[in-house]
Amino acid sequence: MLKKELNDALTRLGPGTPMGDLLRRYWYPVAFEQDLQDWPIRKVRLLGEDFALWKTPDGGYGLLQERCPHRHASLVYGVVEEEGLRCGYHGWLFDGEGSCLDQPAEPETSSFKDSVAAFAGRTAAMGGLVWAYIGPDPAPELPRFDVYVDDGFKDVGHTVLPCNWLQIMENAVDPHHVEWLHGRYFKFLGEQRGFLAPPGFQKAHVKVGFDPIEWGILKRRVLEGNTEENDDWKVGHPLVFPYSMRVGGGGIEQMQIRVPIDDTHTWVLFYSSHQPLGVTEFPEQVFPVSYEFPWLDEDGEHIVDYIEGQDIMAWVTQGDITDRTAEHIGKGDIGVIMLRRMFRDQMALVAEGRDPTVGFTREPHDRVGLPCEKDKFGVDFLEFVLSWLSMGSSRYSPALDQIKKLYIDASAAQGAAPAAATE
């Protein structure tokens, strides 16, 4: 339970709020690169602010405040030029730094343009996503997490949810929900509707643990029938501060991304890099496979017969910003408490004019490897992967059959390898 003031401080992320100041110290994905292939400009909303994102003629990207400083028409309806983005209304031209280069209706001798600027964010491309930074300069390094930069077959399901990003992040440090929401509840649905829910998710938790690490909070669990020697405890997987979770198993390497659009909307992406064991060459891709997956049926009810649909039900039904002044949390929620403390610590650092110390780097690097178990729940790798693919949001992927085949072929090759070696 929290005081209202504290709940507000932890969930309001617009400009000038303490949480907004913290979250503006990080890079966020704002679009898929292929989104800008057909039309080079699109509107993006991030941390309660609207921007025009455009693809430059040389293949880079630019990000400006959506409203033209002139008379506030949207720059989303602008013209892409060599030098930058020109407003469609009166032709004011801005470069990628936000400098105003041209005001066609002003006298040639006017220096008015020198006194006008648009807010410009920083942009980068990585893993088929366009990333944006809208905080103070100098921008930190964009962390090049393994999932985005390692070879693999990339498949990304995504959707926008009508809730605050924090309640989604709190779910990432709540291991117990797995055995209930994805275990008992899934089994109940299966019994009612006549399908077999994945048994691996039904194992009871014996022990959970949380360790603060450089990139967030490392979460560990021991499940019934397993020991501390299993990957679930020995390796674990991290919440990646402040808006992601690294997860996977059996060759699936996934980042679950929760981009705070504004106080009450979150862009959720399940970014998977499929890397079946023993496979080093993957089907060629120009861009990751991307698709929007459904979470409400035609009656407006939650679709709960797949794993992420169950999570989404829990996140969204808590309300747009859940009222933590009326919650009743227990000892089983220590991960949630730890995360709230981490946010308060980091907010204070930023309020003092310092850099955050978690999930943040100024060191140039090629790759950031994150710990993540491969042996998930002590279940056979192929069984785990196939249940994840068929009973998760991947079931909506247009590449589902191709991905399944990748794992089945890899498993067959692994099985054949020892026999071949003895010949």
């Binding site: 009326a326 949390i329 227990g330 403390r341 907010m347």
Partner: protein
């Protein structure tokens, strides 16, 4: 004839008096746990006495059986620990 504007029943409850100067409002304003949280949540660090409402400090209430525990961290001095309310002091039974 009944005046439709006057309900024959009422679920109206007087709102609680302001706690520490703040009136509790919202969907769950009547929740006794919420009211007790407002009354009992530590407002100052037990170690250095700094206000816990300042940036970086936090006090989160959780339940351990019947025990109400406030996990508290002070940004001022770094003190972190659990503060538990005690309604009644109970000793353990002497060993036989």
């Amino acid at each position: 004839m009944t005046d439709r504007r006057t309900p024959r029943w009422s679920n109206h409850v007087d709102p609680p008096a302001p706690v520490h100067g703040r009136r509790i409002t919202g969907t769950h304003w009547w929740d006794p746990d919420r009211i007790r949280h407002m009354q009992d949540a530590p407002r100052h660090c037990p170690s250095c006495g700094s206000s816990l409402d300042t940036d970086g400090s936090i006090s989160v209430e959780y339940w351990e059986g019947d025990r109400r525990v406030f996990h508290t961290s002070c940004h001022g001095c770094g003190w972190t620990g659990d503060i538990a309310t005690v309604d009644r002091v109970v000793g353990h039974e002497a060993a036989e």
